[in-house]
């Protein structure tokens, strides 16, 4: 089980306190009605799914309840860092 650092609580806690919430920095459409089918496909379905460094969202459901972002290596499952939602991509 992974230990995850919550940037809000400032603690490393076991994975079972957290819920994974998918790839990070997938921006919602600013003007949805202007989106083409290709843009909707990219927003809804296409994911980076990299073998290596991955920016992803987690939520500390059994803690502060807040969403934050993390950088994790998908081959070793090691966390490089976690950072608060709204901060630029790391």
């Amino acid at each position: 089980m992974m230990l995850i650092h919550c940037p809000y609580c400032g603690e490393r806690r076991p994975e079972i306190e957290f819920a994974y919430a998918g790839e990070a920095h997938v921006a919602r459409p600013v003007d949805p009605s202007a989106y083409t089918d290709e843009e909707w496909e990219r927003f809804l379905f296409i994911r980076a799914n990299p073998r290596g460094r991955h920016n992803e969202r987690w939520r500390h459901i059994h803690g502060c309840g807040r969403f934050f972002n993390a950088v994790r290596d998908t081959v070793t499952d090691k966390f490089e860092t976690t950072y608060k939602a709204g901060e630029p991509r790391k």
Binding site: M2, E15, E41, R42, L44, I46, R47, P50, R51, E56
Partner: protein, 417 residues
């Protein structure tokens, strides 16, 4: 290749079984092939076999970065069934189940396909209603599925607890009698042996590092650790690594790769006659011919390529098994492992052409690809040979994520793979 038969077994026995030839040669790559399959799992080897057998394309290479059958083919829980809700799914999975029948004879290799029945337990009113709907939908599609009362389910699978005092009492079950299990490794070995006998090269320990495309955008071949190999047709059947391979051709795919764990108990005498699944309690189990109870459930929650998962998933799975089968509470577990499954947004596979000319894909089988092995191989071979999808796999195109014609088995299938 020596054909397996009672006579050849007897003849070789006289020599102490020392003179069996290798079942397939470890081929070195040639400079060019008519077609290349990336990934030597059951699906990829099956595609190579059917390309050679049905479509006469024998100048084929199967390229594998590890060893043959060492990915999800060797890591799954070997369950075969076709009781899917939607028409497209029923056609696709039943095509595979029909090929499982007679596969051992066709390949001259015992795949140990055992139609021991797959039973899905209903624990609440919603389960009962949705399973009965499944049964009717399946029957309209010619797929066998029948409703059992709790007592009939207990008769079919004696270790099952149908106590009304259980936390999730069994109210009944849906049974597909043609469902069952097969021996996972022999499927890959059988296809490899039969394909090699038809002239297919199986190249192991040779990772694909790039896909070369010409000025017109069509594929020209693959870059590998052992040099460039040319081919006008490339079929990618790389399961959890499909996103990585497709990026080499400049394509972004609607896939995410998750670890899926399974485990086996210590071997015991035959006690468990069929496959039992429970979506509500969230686990499934069967017993292998070796005697181990083979257990599985859902994926870990995060994207990963690590081929391992967390212990709390195993704990959750075993809690569910102990709930349904109190008889097994004192069993000890022997091994646990993980594979990387490629999951699409609608939990249905992508099988067909890609926007790149000459590049074909078979991916997105998620947590339930083993049962489809012969069908997926056959359909990928058809698509590569004719440069157009078979009517069965035509709905499983990439365009559905753009035009919205999803085949949304996600809710219909849940844990039950």
């Amino acid at each position: 290749m020596t054909r397996f038969s009672a006579f050849s077994l007897f003849a070789k026995a006289l020599g102490g079984h020392q003179s069996w030839p290798e079942q397939w040669p470890d081929a070195a790559p040639k400079p060019a092939y008519d077609a290349i399959i990336v990934g030597a799992g059951g699906h990829g080897l099956g595609a190579a076999y059917y390309l050679a057998k049905k479509y006469g394309i024998t100048n084929v290479a199967v390229i594998e970065k590890g060893w043959l059958g060492g990915g999800n083919t060797g890591r799954n829980t070997t369950i075969i069934r076709s009781n899917y809700l939607y028409d497209e799914s029923a056609h696709l999975y039943d095509h595979a189940v029909k090929l499982w029948d007679g596969l051992s004879q066709e390949l001259n290799y015992n795949t140990m396909y055992s139609k021991r029945g797959v039973m899905m337990l209903a624990h609440n009113v919603h389960d009962v209603q949705s399973f009965k709907r499944h049964i009717h939908a399946n029957r309209l599609n010619g797929v066998d599925n029948e409703w059992l009362s709790a007592e009939e389910a207990k008769d079919y699978c004696p270790p099952l607890s149908i106590s009304p005092h259980a936390r999730h009492p069994v109210l009944g079950a849906a049974l597909q009698r043609r469902g069952g299990t097969a021996r996972h490794d022999t499927v890959a070995w059988g296809y490899a042996r039969a394909a090699a006998a038809l002239g297919v090269d199986i190249i192991q320990n040779c990772a694909v590092t790039g896909i070369r495309r010409g000025a017109d955008g069509a594929v020209e071949g693959v870059e590998t650790e052992r040099g460039f190999i040319a081919a006008k047709r490339i079929g990618v059947s790389a399961a959890g690594n499909t996103s990585v391979v497709m990026k080499m051709a400049g394509l972004d795919f609607p896939l995410e790769s998750y670890p899926l764990q399974a485990l086996v108990s210590e071997p015991i005498k035959p006690v468990f006659p069929c496959v039992v699944m429970s979506n509500t309690v969230h686990a499934y189990m069967s017993q292998s011919d070796k005697g181990e109870l083979v257990i599985g459930a859902g994926t870990d929650q995060y994207v990963s390529y690590s081929q391992r998962g967390a212990l709390h998933i195993v704990e959750h799975t075993l809690a569910a098994i102990c709930e349904i089968f109190p008889i097994f509470r004192r069993m000890r577990m022997l091994r646990t492992w993980g594979g990387i499954v490629d999951v699409t947004p609608d939990r249905s596979p992508v099988l067909g052409k890609t926007p790149v000319k000459g590049l074909y894909v078979n991916c997105g089988w998620g947590t339930g690809g083993f049962k489809a092995t012969p069908g997926a191989g056959d359909l990928l071979a058809y698509t590569m040979a004719k440069d157009e999808p078979h009517p069965i796999n035509a709905p499983y195109n990439l365009d559905r994520f753009r035009n919205g014609r999803l085949i949304d088995e996600a809710a219909a299938a849940a844990v039950a793979h």
